[in-house]
Symmetry: D2
Subunit: 290 residues, 4 copies
């Protein structure tokens, strides 16, 4: 017998809807009536698109989650909201896709093992065989060699899609996966497939951006993490960063420096996704930072 | 006769209080009932200090401000809040203090003239005469030469304080004002006096930090904007930034590079203050970014 | 009567030529034989273009300069060098061109007055009248209002060119001068006219790059200083920098943040030019940093 | 039979000596007479310490290395030089020391495997057992568990020193090795032992710097790579970098963000060492960048 209440648990609530008065009041009342305590929150109304976005970190008593879900069901219908309530810190199931260059894949696996990224890899897909990654320890994560060529693209993508569904993946990461997804697969994965582009978009598109950067003589190179859309280089941007270079850097140096930026930018985008910080706003993203 | 309602005006509301459930719900209900529309907001509960902070940008109908003030009066008493509601974009009255080096002063004046900073300088105080600034155009801003020495410090500070009060200044900026304020004046200006420290605190304190940085052989130098407290180098930090240096940089080079960082960091801190983005949280600050 | 030799003076020597063995040996021997002492130097051979670049800071005795010039005359002919020897710290004569936005102009003038930039402005040219800059103090620098329209472009450019020559300008700076130079004037000013592009090239070209950046939803914006060529956005890049932005930044916020980057990037490029740190390498630049 | 000469090979020459005229001339003549071709070089004279530093990348014909070594033997004696000539790109033998946190160790091993860092790990030393690193694949690199306590410090350090010598290590890296080296071992490894300090020195010294940073409310955190000296926090600094943080970051967040900076800063310092870019200049370093 004890006087202490059962411990409150942490939740993250995100929502998006057309902007109009009363959204924050409605949501915060629903949380308060369920015994919730808001620990931090951010709201943003986009004057261009007329959309409103909200992210709340709150604690809820043991019976609070059901009450909040019920209230949000009503409120969500009234305001036409897309909302998501999830236990804070729950690992998000992810399917990782890679090709020959494995620095991003290795980095994500390392950050997963250290607990730095709250992901749960449910599979690694590559168009190269397992032997291409002698130094990588996939542990119990299933590896799928799905080679792809001009004649089997549709079948290979169908296999990827089946894997995504069967594994219960919540999102996919193209960790330097050097295949362009079809419009069909891009559409199926809309808003839940993150790509790392090895360039500071909209700077250098197409092949070999570091060689392009060297030829142009730029003084900074960068990388871009974005959601995949049918138009590969035009998906909503999640995160970008740059690194300073000089005349003395060869294309090989740029590629080496670029690897570091790519790792950092992709890991940051994945972390933002896992913490429910990214909300789609048309062709752009709202990213609620720390 | 017209169907259009009078235009809604923009307001910024900030508040701080001890953390407990219901704050956001109470505030957002007050805003909603007054016809307000939240355009953006941020909340943060500090688990260390047990304080809760909130900043809201909202539009209000013409009669909304009074209603919100009334509701916040009640709510504020209930929750023990410190709150502030102000029309968005209203210039904040500022008293600028400077000494021999005028790069920060010149920069603030320039950003005021371009409208980049929403400040209204109500006076410039210097312990050097007007003629020390031949290239600066103070326009209609009164210039006050208040020399200071060992024997008149109390009188000089009393004059500064009178100027602050008489001019209706809302805050003061020490734009490389090289005099240490007394504990008494620091206390009077608590939370409304911003200093730029020409070092990346807690790195190099005391005199000639760039010479110290050169002697130590560091690879980055920085600057720190903070609120003034009795202990000059220990006030709550608002903003910091750094710049890369190399072995080839002399102390003179560091001073030159430092000037740029100082300008940038101070201007950023002033802008954050004017936009009501800074809230005091004990010895630290909560800065709600863009 | 004294035993002390007359003081040695500082010089900067820069040179570029086709790469082949013996360049550094020849140049350093010439300096040593003239009694010079190398204080710092950098060399770079570009494997793509086959060009070799060198910058030396050296002290020379009073009669040393003539000796070095003679030796470099011979050596330069042998190696097909372009070289330049100049007293270190001599202000470089510059013609400043501006349009409506004066933040870059104001910044350059301020850095000139403080001695931070070793320039000597020999004139300010604007297509707007003097009254457009009420807060700017040009001191004794002549102001030239040279309006330009569809029907007088050639005449206006001829006037600019005459001013450049008559004033003895060594280089020109387009400090947000919003007119595209003709191919003819660009050619005349090749390698000695610096422009600030209000975008992170090759990112957003054309008009209103900050609006383009906002529409695309990028997470960093930047600016680019480059030499002017006939193709406005494609001149050799001297310096670039970026600033982080967020979904909450409006185009107006981007323009404000962009002003800061533009000032910083342009001032850095001008400083590099004045210190003879920039050497043209085809469509790229070699910039020998501090 | 062929017309082609045997291919020239790349070398890096570094040297340091008291500054006086003729050093560059002497060295470049020695290289030219041996058939060398300078591809890039940097020189720096420190006016504070009176020391001169030089780094040259040059190609040499097959018989050129012996000739250069002979000439530098003579020249080096004349000028009192410390010099080093090595084949460019030869992996440098390194002994890695780690404790419980393995993010830096994992990062170095990964960059070794990808060829990004030209190192050859000759051993991993830890005061924790092999089983502490289940996810790390050391391949053929010997692992040495050398536990240390109050009663066996001298013996453990003697074992480390024997390993260093027996393995032919050229340098050691303390990859978050949480033991303070004795003055004796520090002296033996002077100039060839790199430590990563999990703070932006001279900011937060001592234990738990990220907790100190959080308590102080700083807005940027950083890391510092430096050579080990008897005074742990005061060794010559090689590289530093920072990351932006906010009020919302807990100490745990700072530790996570700090890991990234530590990895990046340490890897950069190791790369600079392997490329012979770091020269000791008293309590500071000269680092000849790319």
């Amino acid at each position: 017998m004890t006087d202490h209440p059962p411990p409150a648990a942490g939740f993250v609530l995100t929502l998006a809807c057309a902007d109009r008065p009363g959204i924050v009041a409605g949501v915060s009342r629903a949380l308060a009536e369920a015994g919730g305590d808001i620990r931090g929150a951010q709201q943003f109304g986009d004057e261009d698109t007329g959309r409103f976005f909200m992210r709340v970190v709150a604690t809820l008593p043991p019976d609070g989650e059901a009450a909040v879900r019920a209230a949000l069901g009503t409120l969500g219908a009234e305001f036409g909201m897309r909302w998501r309530l999830s236990a804070r810190g729950t690992p998000r199931r992810v399917l990782l896709l890679a090709s020959r260059f494995d620095h991003c894949l290795a980095d994500l696996l390392y950050r997963w093992r250290t607990g730095e990224l709250r992901i749960e890899p449910v599979g690694v897909v590559s168009n190269h065989p397992r032997g291409s990654y002698p130094a990588l320890d996939f542990g119990s994560v299933p590896f799928h060699h799905l080679p792809v060529g001009a004649d089997n693209r549709a079948e290979q993508e169908a296999a990827v899609w089946r894997l995504f569904q069967d594994s219960g993946a919540e999102f996919a990461v193209l960790a330097r996966y050097m295949q362009v997804l079809s419009d069909d697969l891009s559409a199926k994965l809309a808003g839940r497939c993150i790509n790392i582009h090895h360039s500071f978009l909209p700077g250098f598109k197409g092949a070999r951006p570091y060689h392009q950067a060297h030829a142009r003589g730029v003084k900074l190179i960068g990388a871009t993490a974005h959601f995949v859309t049918a138009d590969l280089d035009e998906g909503p941007i999640i995160e970008q960063d740059v690194e300073r270079i000089s005349h003395a850097d060869s294309p090989a140096d740029l590629i080496r420096k670029g690897r570091d930026i790519e790792r950092r930018v992709l890991a940051q985008a994945v972390r933002m996704f896992c913490e429910d910080r990214i909300l789609l706003d048309g062709v752009r993203t709202v990213v609620f930072g720390d």
